[in-house]
């Protein structure tokens, strides 16, 4: 997929714009979507990220028209599509299981959507359809389109095979090809990489990102894998409990989460969260350690302070400027060394990244102190909403 021969589509501004308003959906007593609003610009690559059961797949299926919403609306290209069948919405979808028709060859799989729209019912009839006038030129055009797509995806040698004879990666490409061939306004991708092995997944990530750049079509991509979200998207929608928590570019999601659930979901190892309390004098008390934090908090207000393992440092022995604990376990990944430090009275250990060359400095069972640079501490209120110091809060409004 190194060269994309498909000409980027002439921008029509709103062509691939997706507008979602107040979308709600329940399955029985379970509320799956609790009011989703989303604006996706034409040509944008948006990833919907969330744990399983957060409603991200339902959201995608409603956009596709495969599921009916209880309330709210979806517009594609400025036109409400709620009453339209999936095939009338001008979208294409790549499924997690690829959903290739097992009885059709790769060629026929890719050609099927074109046949369905370009041929009449009579022309599609088996055997006799061939005799209906006008079939031949259309079939030729379809065949041409299939070949073009196959060339782009480099699956020409596979065209005569059936899906059962393909590897996972090949199937994935065919599925993408079937979506591409109809030149939709919006590509919907439902965890398209999750059935691939780790190595192939990394490779396909790059290909999809490249494909998006080449097609410049709107991509809506659903995944529970943060790496995919972070590496490919223009913007990420982090969804939880049927609601988008934050919609932002990947870096912002990681560095500047709006909600503790977002902070917890994104990043590996997980972010460390410790209870803290406002001192009432522009700082927080985190287990006896004072963190400067300029916010309007009454003294004693319970908050949660969080910091990513890579942002803290660890020193052997006890250190008054750090949180005192005991080293329980070391995780040496070669590139990184993660220390799991147990703090008294806290169940989950705090994880800190250190330079792996320093492994000898940290014997298991010894006392370790964790230092948290105040600038890298993220503060959330008891309910999990982000708290910001006064200055940066003002700044953020323009950001």
């Amino acid at each position: 997929m190194t060269t994309v021969a498909l000409a980027p589509r002439v921008a029509e501004g709103a062509r691939g714009r997706v507008t979602i308003r107040g979308l709600t959906k329940s399955f029985g007593a379970t509320r799956v979507l609790r009011g989703v609003d989303l604006d996706i610009a034409d040509g944008e690559f948006v990833t919907v990220l969330g744990p399983s059961g957060c409603g991200k797949s339902t959201l995608m299926r409603i956009i596709a028209g495969l599921e009916r919403q209880d309330g709210g609306s979806v517009a594609i290209g400025g036109r409400a599509v709620d009453a339209l069948r999936p095939d009338q919405r001008d979208i294409a979808m790549v499924f997690q299981s690829y959903a290739l028709y097992p009885h059709l060859t790769v060629r026929d799989n890719i050609a099927l959507p074109l046949r369905m729209r370009r041929l009449t019912f009579a022309q599609r009839l088996p055997l006799v359809g061939r005799l209906v006038p006008g079939v031949r030129p259309t079939e030729r055009a379809i065949d041409e389109a299939v070949r073009r797509v196959a060339a782009v995806l480099q699956i020409e040698p596979l065209l005569a095979r059936k899906p059962g004879q393909l590897s996972g990666g090949q199937k994935q490409r065919v599925a993408v090809g079937r979506a591409m061939v109809r030149e939709p306004r919006v590509f919907l991708m439902d965890e398209p990489l999750s059935n691939l092995d780790a190595e192939l997944r990394v490779h396909m990530r790059a290909e999809i990102a490249e494909l998006h750049r080449a097609l410049a079509t709107t991509f809506i991509y659903v995944t529970h894998d943060q790496a995919e979200a972070m590496t490919m998207s223009d913007r990420v929608v982090v969804m939880m409990d049927g609601r988008p928590l934050q919609v932002a570019p990947p870096a912002r999601i990681y560095d500047d989460p709006e909600d503790i659930r977002v902070a917890r979901f994104v990043g590996s190892p997980r972010i460390n969260v410790l209870p803290a309390a406002a001192t009432g004098r522009g700082s927080l008390d985190m287990r006896g350690l004072e963190l400067p934090f300029d916010a309007d908090l009454a003294a004693g207000t319970a908050v949660q302070a969080a910091f990513r393992p890579g942002m803290a440092t660890a020193v052997r022995g006890s250190d008054p400027s750090g949180l005192a604990g005991v080293l329980r376990h070391r995780e040496n990944l070669g590139s990184d060394l993660f220390l799991h430090v147990a703090l008294p009275g806290i169940e989950a250990p705090v994880v800190v990244r250190v330079d792996p060359t320093a492994v000898a400095d940290f014997p298991v069972g010894e006392a370790v102190s964790v230092r948290v640079p105040p600038a890298h501490a993220l503060v959330f209120d008891a309910a999990g909403a982000r708290l910001r110091p006064r200055a940066s809060a003002a700044m953020r409004r323009h950001g």
Binding site: T19, R21, G22, D37, R68, Q69, G71, G72, S73, A75, A80, D82, A83, R85
Partner: protein
């Protein structure tokens, strides 16, 4: 704009929902209509008919309550029929299940000629029973039949198998067993292949040395549910014995081979006593229904569905 969009399009959406229901209805509709016409409706009708004195072709009928049932249980032919059917089931089920299991185990115990044996034992399942009944009738002919000729070769006096009231029913049982062994055998084979090989290895590690040990510790417990299932469906099939009786003995001699379905057939379609035949049908239904429910229960325990 946002507000305008936020309004759902209820009419349009309802239309789409309606469309899906319509699609489901048109897909399932023909089957459902036929189901009512040919299964549910007739089931109700047969129960209702059993409370009437309807005669096929008659212009009227009247309600007689349980009179048909009273007559039935007082009728020697019916009691004989019920008794014979139960005897038939009681013989054919254990015999054909045991032989089917034995054949499956023996065939699977080795590799040579496996396909041959399987095909041979299965052949009677495929062959048109009515044609084979005629062949059996010839084989059982008192003077010209293979069986008596073969018996005479070894110095045994044969019987007039189908004409003798002492042997007729058992002869039919024998044909029933012959016909269903192969069917049970393949079901058992399917059950055998479903037993993971590791279990035999585990049993060997745990000290099961002889074939009997292996059978008792692994094969039999694993085949248990299959066996129960095979027993029940063989019972259901045996309850429906008809072809051999109709063509070979017509229920005779002296009702010695009268069975439920034949009673129903002769009452309904030879004597045209439709109401009475419906009552016989209801009794037949009760037995088969009980067995079918048992089967569903067995199936439910074994594989999860619905």
């Amino acid at each position: 704009m946002a507000d305008a969009l936020a309004l759902p399009a209820p009419a349009a959406m309802r239309r789409r929902g309606f469309g899906e229901a319509m699609a489901a209805l048109s897909l399932a509709g023909p089957a459902m209509a036929l189901m009512v016409l040919f299964l549910v409706g007739p089931l109700v009708v047969v129960v209702l008919l059993s409370a009437t004195d309807y005669q096929l072709g008659a212009r009227s009928l009247s309600y007689v309550g349980l009179a048909n049932y009273a007559e039935m249980f007082a009728d020697r032919v019916f009691r004989k029929s019920l008794e014979n059917t139960l005897i038939y089931v009681a013989i054919v089920v254990p015999a054909s299940v045991a032989l089917g299991l034995g054949a499956a185990l023996l065939i699977e115990a080795g590799t040579s000629l496996r396909a041959f044996y399987r095909a041979v034992y299965f052949l009677p399942v495929m062959a048109t029973l009515i044609a084979m009944a005629i062949v059996w009738e010839f084989m059982l002919h008192p003077t010209l039949g293979l069986i008596n000729l073969a018996l005479r070769e070894i110095g045994v006096e044969g019987y007039n198998w189908l004409q003798d009231r002492r042997t007729a029913l058992f002869t039919l049982c024998g044909i029933g067993v012959w016909q269903s062994v192969g069917f049970n055998m393949v079901l058992f084979m399917a059950g055998l292949t479903a037993i993971p090989g590791e279990l035999y290895e585990a049993a060997a590690v745990d000290g099961a040395r002889t074939g009997l040990d292996r059978f008792r510790t692994v094969t039999w417990p694993m085949l248990g549910p299959v066996t129960l299932f095979v027993v029940v469906i063989t019972a259901i099939r045996s309850f429906q014995v008809f072809d051999t009786v109709q063509v070979m003995t017509k229920g005779g001699p002296n009702r010695a081979t009268e069975v439920l379905l034949y009673t129903m057939y002769s009452e309904g379609f030879s004597f045209f006593r439709t109401g009475y035949a419906a009552a016989v049908t209801v009794v037949f239904l009760v037995f088969v229904l009980a067995l079918s429910l048992l089967k569903t229960w067995v199936l439910n325990r074994r594989v999860h569905y619905a």
